[in-house]
């Protein structure tokens, strides 16, 4: 256990923001952009109120769309930004994200999740947190949907949901740590009972029901997550630390 001089536990926090950057996502993108610069200080304030001490915060962005419709713009990632030293760079990068494209309704969110899981997580510190926050107002395509249909589909991607589940759950693979990992999901719950096209849509419910350390905040499909406020998102992140 890592303690500071006051005998409090300290945390090393890595955050990965997976943001659906397709056309309908303007509301949540606006909220993220407006608060990007002050995110670190806002986070520290809430953590201090809860008497949690964080000794390092890093944040990484993954902006995803649709491999078939958006080609080279379908999946864009950054390296980790150290906060607060790189807060300006982080803010400017976030503000440069534009919402466009998407093609059909489902997006390639599971591939974005795969890249998030395979992030270059910090290995230092005893109390680590590896937190993935994913925002989407659409269901995902099944993994591999664009394979063979898009030249930009990456090799080495998880072939199916079972393999992606292995990446998340099998600690021996070393991608994420069992105790450190957290997934906060802002995405619509697929109404499985009403049926869906299994060829093009994969239900988020399968992630929520089969993965450990997942918190799901169901969103209204197609509305850009306009119902979520920045403060409640911040609160969810802090509670998962």
């Amino acid at each position: 256990m890592q303690l500071n001089t006051k005998g409090q536990m300290t945390y090393t926090v890595d955050l990965v923001f997976c943001i659906d950057a397709t056309g309908s996502m303007a509301p949540i993108l606006k909220a993220v952009k407006e608060n990007a610069l002050s995110f670190y200080s806002d986070l520290m304030k809430v953590l201090n109120e809860k008497n949690k001490r964080v000794e390092s915060v890093r944040i990484k962005l993954i902006a995803f769309r649709d491999y078939i419709a958006d080609g080279e713009e379908a999946m864009l990632v950054t390296d980790f930004f150290n906060l607060p030293e790189q807060a300006v760079e982080f803010s400017n990068t976030v503000n440069g994200i534009t919402h466009f494209g998407g093609g059909d309704i489902p997006e390639d969110s599971l591939e974005a999740l795969a890249y998030a899981i395979r992030s270059d997580w910090s290995q230092s510190g005893t109390k680590r947190r590896q937190i993935i926050v994913l925002w989407s107002d659409a269901p995902p395509h099944p993994l591999g949907f664009a394979k063979g249909k898009s030249d930009n589909y990456p090799s080495g991607m998880a072939a199916n949901f079972a393999e992606l589940t292995e990446w998340w759950e099998n600690e021996q693979l070393g991608y994420v740590n069992r105790r450190a990992k957290r997934l906060i999901l802002y995405a619509p719950a697929t109404d499985i009972e009403r049926g869906y096209d299994v060829e093009t849509v994969y239900p988020w419910n399968n992630v929520v029901e089969n993965w450990n350390n997942v918190v799901h905040f169901p969103s209204v499909a197609g509305k850009g997550l306009e119902e979520f406020q920045y403060e409640e998102i911040l609160s969810a992140i802090v509670q998962s630390i």
Binding site: L43, M44, N92, P154, V208, V214
Partner: protein, 224 residues
């Protein structure tokens, strides 16, 4: 698993998986990562050791002269039924001591010349710093912003990292196009902004230059 359900109304003081003490509003256990509210993994009850009382018997008080007072066993007290042995918790962990109360705030020392005090945490920082190094508070009022795209300019920038606008505000070089109307032989000069920024402006008001510059931090991920 399934949707996280916090509607039970019960306060979970200890993690059902490892027994660690939980914060009042934790979603996950800080020790083992188990989600709060997850049903505990079934564990067989501990087997009592033969010939050993489950309740420890304190040493008898000593009478003057050093002779211990005889203490009757609880079961021998008249009129009382044998006391049931307390059931130990399934995961024996010491109760965490209460977290110490936060220290009383100490008055911040007067800032040294050239320094200023952070209004959030009271730390003394450089007078021209945009951020507090301790808590990250942003001194918004003194941030320099690009006159063209309003992006924040890091200290010492000579040009905006987003749109390329020089920091001193001088207009960037432009390409001049000369359009000749062959019918009326009127020469019209148009000012063309480099990189066709106006025509490709996206719906959120960020032009292509800004998008490309901001995307410099983005890259296509490598194969996995």
């Amino acid at each position: 698993m399934g949707f996280f359900n916090r509607s039970s109304g019960e306060a979970n003081l200890f993690c059902a998986e490892c027994g660690a003490r939980l914060s009042a509003d934790s979603l996950f256990c800080a020790e083992c990562g188990a989600r709060v509210g997850t049903p505990p993994t079934p564990v067989p009850p501990p087997q009592p050791m033969p010939g050993r009382d489950s309740m420890p018997v304190p040493p008898p008080p000593v009478m003057p002269g050093g002779v211990p007072m005889p203490v009757p066993p609880p079961s021998a007290m008249p009129g009382s039924a044998p006391m049931p042995a307390p059931v130990p918790p399934p995961f024996a962990r010491p109760v965490q001591p209460d977290e110490p109360a936060p220290a009383a705030p100490v008055a911040a020392p007067a800032p040294v010349s050239g320094e200023k005090i952070c209004p959030d945490c009271g730390t003394s920082i450089d007078g021209d710093s945009n951020f507090c190094w301790n808590c990250g508070h942003v001194f918004e009022a003194i941030l320099k912003r690009c006159t063209k795209c309003n992006a924040i300019l890091p200290d010492g920038s000579s040009a905006c990292g987003i749109c390329g606008q020089p920091v001193d505000g001088a207009a960037p070089a432009v390409d001049m196009a000369v359009v000749v109307d062959t019918v009326t032989t009127t020469t019209t000069t148009e000012r063309v902004i480099a990189a066709a920024s106006v025509s490709t402006e996206s719906s959120d008001g960020i032009n292509r230059e800004q998008k490309e510059a901001a995307n410099r931090n983005f890259h296509r991920p490598p194969a996995l």
